[in-house]
């Protein structure tokens, strides 16, 4: 893995774009699942979780940008405060997942733990911003709902990502730099 590179190599751009498209696909797929209207499952994080293992930091940041902007377009929230909350949550989630991935040895944490940590960060930041910037302290009442449902979705997405990581031959080829 070219972890030290500071730019996105042109040859890797199609792969990053493909993972970005996967994020958009999962963001759209979310509409199939009945959830409270204010809650997003976070399925679009699944490609990001999987990519942690073989993308460099600049590639991951580009993927994050594609995911955030793409979700804003799919949900129709681009240029709104919902987009501010969502993108802040995504950024916080990414920072935490990346830090955990880099700092904790692989034998000690799986994608389940990474997903749970990211979900916690995302929801905590979104609740905090809504309290500070938008609705005021009264909106703290949403915290248990966001954190509780976020725990469930984080667990499910991490578990799904872990299964894909273990069993997908395509992912294994991508990791080895033999993307088909």
């Amino acid at each position: 893995m070219p972890a030290s590179s500071k730019k996105v190599a042109p040859a890797r751009l199609p792969l990053v774009a493909f993972f970005g498209a996967l994020s958009l696909f999962f963001a759209t797929l979310e509409y199939l699942f009945p959830t409270p209207p204010w809650f997003r499952l976070g399925l679009a994080n699944l490609p990001l979780l999987l990519a942690l293992d073989f993308f460099t930091l600049p590639e991951l940041l580009l993927l994050l940008l594609l995911k955030v902007v793409g979700q804003g377009i799919v949900n129709g929230t681009l240029a709104s405060q919902a987009f501010l909350l969502s993108s802040s949550g995504s950024l916080a989630s990414f920072v935490v997942m990346y830090a955990v991935f880099r700092l904790i040895p692989k034998g000690w944490v799986s994608l389940v733990g990474l997903s749970l940590a990211g979900s916690m960060a995302s929801n905590a930041v979104q609740v905090g911003l809504s309290m500070v910037l938008i609705f005021g302290p009264a909106s703290g009442i949403i915290a248990p709902w966001f954190l509780g449902l976020g725990t469930l979705s984080g667990l499910g997405i991490g578990w799904g990502a872990e299964i894909l990581k273990r069993h997908s031959r395509w992912l294994r080829r991508v990791k080895l730099g033999q993307s088909s």
Binding site: W38, V109, V112, L116, F135
Partner: protein
């Protein structure tokens, strides 16, 4: 599951339970409706039937109270998520219109027993 998976799961559960304990703990205050807008916080007894006009940057969000239940009747926002949130009836439940900065919640825990009649 690996050791830090369990650590993060426990941390998530503790945060959820802690926040629930902090914001959802029953109080002796009577059940009431709080409507937070950019202009301030307005409080109404839950057993009153009325339409509340909550003004935000997009216009007026109409909050309808009837029979101790509350829902958003009309909203100027585009996505109408606040309408889709349905009706709330119990302490701890909430409605929100993010684009119009309107947040509605039911707080308090006491049913404030009232005396219908006195017999001597």
């Amino acid at each position: 599951m690996k050791p830090f998976d369990i650590v993060f799961l426990l941390l998530s559960l503790v945060l959820t339970a802690g926040s629930a304990w902090t914001v959802l703990a029953p109080t002796n205050a009577p059940l009431r409706l709080e409507v937070q807008t950019d202009a301030g916080l307005y409080t109404y007894p839950l057993d009153s039937d009325q339409d509340i006009s909550a003004t935000g940057p997009l216009g007026t969000t109409l909050v309808h109270m009837e029979g101790r239940s509350v829902h958003v009747g009309v909203s100027p926002c585009a996505n109408k998520v606040c309408l889709a949130m349905g009706t709330i009836r119990q302490s701890g439940q909430w409605l929100a219109c993010l684009p119009n900065h309107v947040f509605v919640r039911i707080t308090g825990g006491s049913t404030e027993a009232t005396i219908d009649a006195g017999v001597f």
